[in-house]
């Protein structure tokens, strides 16, 4: 079985968000990580590899430094890594990004493609389903459990108050939730090997069946009209009282606001 996992390098919002003096996000000052949903997707692929035997290829689109997350994936146990990087691919929205990744994946053999549900920087959850559409294969979003059954995959898909148990014929694309599993750590041997491993680097010329008009900023149907930092509601009052006084304080405020 061959599994392709799409991963993304994202700024780590958990470690605190840094701003430049002009109030815009200081991406350079923030640590980067492998996007959590993607990491869960990689872990799911590695578990399928452990259980059924599989070749796991990780692929990312990004700046040359996105190589870091590919090496991390190799150290966790992925077999091959591909970096898709090219100036003409920059500024892509989800349409152009999914076209790029689909163009790269067309060069590969695959039974399963796994992506994270969404990246923590954009939060769109669009690229996975869009890749599946370009490749004309089924998509199953929000996987919480994955198993293989012959030439099919059986997936529990989470929805609000329920889950569906779905069976799809491979090839199929699955989007994974961070809740899916607890990703494994890199092993010392894995890190050693990953440092020396060769990473395949592809540019525009390596993408199959994609028109220039679908790539990068120019190929993006959506355009940004305005971006700004969010204006937050001002701080209210903060008190530090003993418990009885705290209770009196809360009750007085609830009365003042006619809640009770």
């Amino acid at each position: 079985m061959k599994i392709v996992v799409c991963i993304k390098q994202v700024p780590d919002t958990k470690g605190g968000v840094k701003f430049k003096p002009d109030g815009t996000l200081d991406r350079a000052a923030m640590l980067t990580i492998m996007n959590p949903d993607d990491k869960a997707g990689l872990e799911a692929a590695l578990r399928l590899k452990d259980q059924y035997g599989a070749e796991v290829t990780v692929i990312t689109m990004g700046l040359p430094k996105a190589e870091d997350v590919l090496r991390e994936a190799l150290a966790m146990g992925a077999d091959k890594a591909i970096l898709v990087t090219d100036r003409v691919l920059g500024g892509a929205d989800t349409w152009a990004t999914s076209q790029t990744l689909a163009g790269a994946i067309r060069n590969l053999e695959y039974d399963l493609i796994i992506t994270g549900r969404q990246a923590i920087d954009g939060d769109t959850a669009q690229v996975g389903p869009q890749i599946s559409e370009h490749l004309n294969i089924p998509v199953i979003s929000y996987a919480q459990k994955i198993k293989i059954d012959g030439d099919s995959v059986i997936v529990e898909r989470q929805f609000d108050d329920r889950y569906h148990v779905l069976k799809a014929k491979m090839p199929c694309l699955i989007t994974a939730l961070a809740e899916l599993n607890e990703p494994r750590y890199m092993t010392p041997g894995g890190i050693y090997d990953a440092c020396k491993a060769e990473i395949t680097v592809w540019g525009r010329a390596n993408l199959a069946d994609v028109d220039d008009s679908n790539l990068g900023l120019k190929g993006s149907p959506t355009q940004i009209a305005k971006a700004s930092d969010k204006v937050r509601k001002g701080k209210g009052e903060k008190v530090n009282l003993d418990p009885a006084e705290s209770v009196t304080y809360i009750v007085s405020k609830l009365k003042e606001k006619h809640v009770i």
Partner: protein, 347 residues
């Protein structure tokens, strides 16, 4: 294609088990405002099996027209038949705007449809307006009028971006549930009903549903609650949520929680407030033992009154709280419950 051919505001009327989701009425409501600005009308697209009778409800909330795609293949939600239904509606009727709820279903369906149609899709919008793009005239670039300007939070709620889709139609957006307002219901209102079946031919993309497992739950939807008593990791244990439940009962509220609580398995996902949970805006939001990660704030900061109780006085939740109480929730919450019980008994 000529962009001018595309007319009207369309919304996807999501139903599950033949019950229309509240988001559908919210989208119709917002669609009415956008349609008024554009001098056009609102069409709801209802997809399912045996759903034709539900169309009147959409009319009562303001839909001018309802396109009904009724087919046994659409009984339970599956990506492919639903994507086929919406893509076929778009190809035939050519809407200029198409809105979908940013629910689990909508966020799965929207990208598949927009990719099939080749148009842009803006995710999780919290504001929609009609305006010019670019916002201000730029030399050498045509300024287009009557564009859908879609505003959404990004970066875990730290930034906010306004997006346009000037060269492709329809302009598509998924819209966060609980943000747009429904119109006042007009009992007995009628809409034009259009039956449309594009034909469904199952292939490998029609995945097989082997089982549907519903979580057993009698909890109220936290998005409808007027008062939420929300707990975080600081509550300490699943058992200790009892003190929050007691408070909720006395004050007529509902218990909700942060992501950490769901991740720890203390409470079900349906009660989660935040970026990956639900957006709520109750009259009163008690944040108890919740530190206030950006992702959490994004889901609750529009609440009318926020009361935070946390022992860590540097917790970010205090940045959005109207009333912040630094202290031990284990002492304050039970005492508050008793005090309120006494106060309300007198009334």
């Amino acid at each position: 294609m000529s962009l001018e051919e595309y007319k009207g505001v369309y919304v996807f009327a999501q139903q599950v088990d033949n019950e229309i989701n509240s988001i559908a009425f919210e989208l119709v409501g917002k669609g009415k405002d956008l349609a008024a600005d554009l001098g056009t009308d609102v069409t709801a697209v209802l997809v399912g099996s045996g759903v034709r009778d539900l169309a009147d409800q959409l009319a009562e909330y303001g839909a001018d027209r309802v396109i009904v795609v009724d087919d046994p293949e659409c009984k339970e939600y599956r990506t492919e038949p639903y994507a086929h239904a919406l893509a076929s509606v778009i190809k035939k009727f050519k809407p200029e705007i198409f809105l979908v709820g940013a629910t689990a279903i909508g966020r799965d369906l929207g990208p598949r449809v927009s990719a099939r149609i080749h148009t842009g899709l803006t995710a999780d919008c919290t504001q929609l307006d009609i305006g010019d793009f670019p916002l201000n005239p730029v030399p050498g670039k045509e300024q287009k009028h009557n564009q859908l300007l879609m505003t959404r939070p990004a970066f875990g709620g730290n930034t906010i971006a306004t997006i346009a889709c000037p060269d492709f139609r329809p302009q598509m957006a998924t819209v966060r549930p609980g943000v747009m307002q429904k119109k006042e219901r007009v009992p007995g209102a009628k809409a034009e009903i259009v039956d449309f079946n594009p034909g469904f031919t199952p292939d490998d993309k029609y995945v097989e549903i082997m089982e549907v497992v519903k979580a057993v739950s009698d909890t109220v939807d936290i998005m409808d609650a007027k008062i939420l008593v929300s707990g975080g990791r600081g509550v300490g244990s699943p058992e200790n949520f009892k003190i929050l439940e007691d408070l909720a009962e006395v004050i007529g509220g509902t218990v909700s929680c942060s992501r950490a609580v769901v991740d720890a398995g203390w409470k079900p996902k349906a009660l989660q407030v935040g970026q990956t949970g639900k957006t709520v805006r109750p009259n009163v939001y008690f944040a108890i033992g919740i530190s206030g990660a950006i992702q959490h704030l994004a889901g609750m900061e529009e609440s009318d009154i926020i009361i935070a109780i946390n022992k860590d006085e540097t917790a970010p939740i205090f940045d959005v709280a109207d009333y912040g109480i630094v202290g031990d929730l284990n002492k304050i919450v039970p005492a508050l419950t008793e005090k309120l019980r006494a106060e309300l008994a007198v009334k």
